[in-house]
């Protein structure tokens, strides 16, 4: 099965190559060729690999998929797209359909100089120097076959470049729409965000599916934060149960920079979020928050790595999960403190509540420390809703169902509160009550 899909994708790559004309000789395409040969050699990751111990990709690889190459005609109306934009949102909107930037639906309102928010393919024409300097330099495609696969099919996605000291006041909403109404597809958006010295932006990455065919998203995002740059990044996964998502975010942080990510997963059949940050400049900080609300046969694996390469940096991780029905949650977090990274503060916490007989959690929080003057800790728990709290609420006349929702909402709020876009945070608070059955 796996082999079949692998060779199908390799032949899709040849198809892409044949449509390139002169571009086939560019250095950019050279990287793609390198990447496809890495993918051909490594194949899809198997459970035997320690990093994929708890994630079984056979549900994905058993399907036949076609790589979505050219933005063909897509039957979407403005009304349909607007339905995915949460109420009261004001700001820039980028719509990616099957991994391709849609000029028709995207709307950039920021008019400042020094701001480029647009498509990856457009940036390859306008900012070729930046692409050459940064593309595929951070997300390691030599050792990760899925990153290699994405790199081989790097065609479109979102590209952001903020010049020195530019603050984008309007938040950015990236709508990732998977259209699987007609056939099984793979989308491989490739994003590159470069925030020069002192610049900052807030953004939300929202995922939706329309249609019931299996849909496989394999996305890679490279983020470069220069000195004192700041990025708030939220990822909200609302996909359908036949959607499979493997998302890799690789963040490179320079001195005094700040990165914060909140990942909320409540839709999708199989999700694997790889979130890696390298703290490569002193006094930089990284915050990861995660919330997964799982039901039916959902599977979510949050796989994080914070690499403290230099002294005096801070990192903090908080992942919380409510797991119901036959769903499975996985948390794999690694904190790496390199040899000279003294005065590091690194914290990690993973809390899970199992709500049903058949729910399952696998957790693997890891510390790898090579410096002595550090403060590092991690904690992981698994349990149920607190009986005493339930009793307390019920004794005050609150029904069992209400009490349960109240407690679950309180449990989740800690993560949602990390979102700094007011309208989005409010929207998430409302949405979670709905998800919890209110």
């Amino acid at each position: 099965m796996e082999e079949e899909l692998k060779y199908k994708l390799i032949s899709d790559f040849k198809l892409l190559e044949s449509s390139l004309n002169g571009e086939a000789k560019s250095p950019f395409h050279k990287i793609r060729q390198d990447a496809i040969s890495v993918f051909e050699e490594l194949g899809f990751p198997v459970k035997k690999l320690e990093e994929w111990k708890y994630t079984n990709l056979s549900n994905i690889t058993k399907n036949r998929f076609r790589q979505f190459l050219i933005p063909e005609k897509i039957n979407l109306t403005f009304e349909e797209v607007a339905g995915f934009i949460y109420p009261e949102f004001e700001g820039n909107i980028i719509v990616l359909i099957n991994g391709h930037y849609s000029v028709k639906f995207s709307k950039i309102v920021t008019q400042k100089d020094g701001v480029f928010i647009g498509s990856f393919s457009e940036a390859r024409e306008k900012h070729n120097d930046l692409i050459q300097n940064y593309f595929a330099k951070y997300a390691d495609y030599y050792r990760n076959s899925l990153t290699a696969l994405n790199t081989a099919f790097a065609i479109d996605g979102v590209f952001i470049h903020l010049e020195k000291n530019v603050t984008v006041d309007e938040p950015l909403l990236i709508l990732n729409i998977a259209d699987s109404r007609e056939e099984n597809l793979i989308a491989q958006p490739r994003n590159l965000f470069i925030l020069e010295e002192g610049s900052s932006i807030l953004m939300a990455d929202d995922y939706y599916t329309i249609g019931d065919h299996p849909f496989f998203t394999n996305s890679v995002t490279e983020i470069i934060l220069k000195q004192n740059a700041s990025l708030e990044h939220y990822k909200i996964q609302n996909d359908g149960s036949n959607a499979y998502h493997i998302g890799t975010i690789q963040v490179e942080q320079e001195r005094d920079s700040r990165f914060s990510n909140t990942t909320i997963s409540w839709g999708g059949g199989l999700i694997r979020n790889n979130l890696n940050a390298t703290l490569n400049g002193e006094n930089s900080e990284s915050h990861f928050f995660g919330l997964y609300l799982l039901k039916d046969k959902q599977f979510v694996d949050n796989h994080t790595l914070v690499d403290h390469a230099v002294p005096n940096c801070n990192s903090n991780e908080l992942y919380k999960g409510l797991i119901d029905d036959k769903a499975t949650g996985v948390f794999n977090g690694k904190i790496m403190v390199r040899k000279d990274a003294q005065k590091t503060n690194a914290y990690q916490s993973n809390k899970n509540i199992l709500l049903s007989e058949n729910a399952k959690i696998n957790a693997k929080p890891q510390l790898e420390i090579f410096a002595d003057d550090v403060k590092c800790s991690h904690g992981a728990t698994s349990g149920q809703l607190d009986e005493n709290s339930m009793f307390y609420l019920q004794s005050r006349g609150i029904s069992k169902v209400e009490a349960k929702i109240l407690l679950m909402n309180a449990f989740s709020s800690e993560v949602i509160d990390s979102v700094k876009i007011d309208s989005l945070r409010q929207h998430l608070h409302n949405l979670i009550l709905k998800k919890l059955g209110k």
Binding site: E50, K364, L367, I369, F370, A371, S377, H378, S382, G383
Partner: protein, 481 residues
Amino acid sequence: MSDQNQILEELTGSEYKYGFSTDFEEVRAPKGLNEDIVKFISAKKNEPEFMLEWRLKAYRHWLTMKEPNWQNVQYPPIDYNDLYYYAAPKNAKKLKSLDELDPQIKKTYDRLGIPLEEQLILAGVAVDAVIDSVSVVTTYKEKLAELGIIFCSISEAIQENPELVKKYLGSVVPITDNYFASLNSAVFSDGSFVYIPKGVRCPMELSTYFRINAENTGQFERTLIIAEEGSYVSYLEGCTAPMRDENQLHAAVVELIAHENAEIKYSTVQNWYPGDKDGKGGIYNFVTKRGICAGNNSKISWTQVETGSSITWKYPSVILKGDNSIGEFYSVAVTNNKQQADTGTKMYHIGKNTKSRIVSKGISAGESNNSYRGLVQVSKRAENARNFSQCDSLLMTDRCGAHTFPYFEIDNPSAIVEHEATTSKIGEDIMFYCQQRGISQEDAVALIVNGYAKEVLNQLPMEFAVEAQKLLAISLEGSVG
């Protein structure tokens, strides 16, 4: 900082206290490993047919296996055909009293600071002393025999209680379990056997001192402890080894079986030769230790203080099969210079209302690496399982490493599992406080480390706790970063 480093260097440069080699004649099997060697060992030990079959099966399986490489320790490849698999002191015949003991061997013990007679009289400890694989003397045996307790070498048990050995050997760690367990099953030379009958509370701590003596002899100890319904036993294992430059492989297997309402407490103080300060020499300690709480309300408790060996690689585990059974793991692992340790535990919750507790304290100094690796698995039917794990690491220098790799696989919603881990160094404020009150830097470190490890040391039986505390102090003298 540089001052402290200097002290560290001076002290950690101190020679291994227990390093010497005793000369006495021995019988060796030829170098290398093949079916003939396995047969040779079995024949030498006069084993019944079933044991030879068992060993050969293990050996044949071992041939099909690959050496694991996932561990967080590094060592040069081992040439398994360049080892002696059997060495026994010549004329090893059974002794009835200490007077019959070879004066050379006796001297070895005396230099190690284990005066047998003193232990006989003062401590009331029965010692099954093992020198290079063959049990030389067993004390207190008669007294234990009155209670029906069998405490002897495993070779003796194979001769005298073959039905027990046949029933339990390999029942917890099967011959196919892992690379080193299979190797051990094929060539194990000797070890201890303990059988506590129904309802008996073993009146004394049972203890075995292991010694590695002959050069180039891989040591393959095999220990089997069976506690019948309602019984209790506390078993101590401690070891020191002579100094030499060639690395020695030690692949022991320990199996514990606790039946209904039984309790087994297994304590280890491991102080084998760690190699010199450049990491040369030293023991490879690759051990498989596993216990099963087979009956309801049974309990198995592992306590270990690991200060020796150039590489320590072991995970004493408990299979919590019986309802309401309890598994415990208390560990202090100290690594210094270029030592490496990858140790931890596995707790398999299978029965209902099972509980486990893990307390692991790692201390890294010099350029050493210290890893905790542990698994807590709650299976689907393990209602109301409870686990608490705490894994702390203390770093002494800026050149050492501390790693934590806990795994949790929770398949039952009623389980409550908690894990905490911290990594830090000895606080400057605490050091300052101690020094300011006239406590020298070294004493302060010893004080703080002992306090840090107290939770584990408290679990050790008295005799061991004293030794362990000294050991910690010696291993870490001055190594504050």
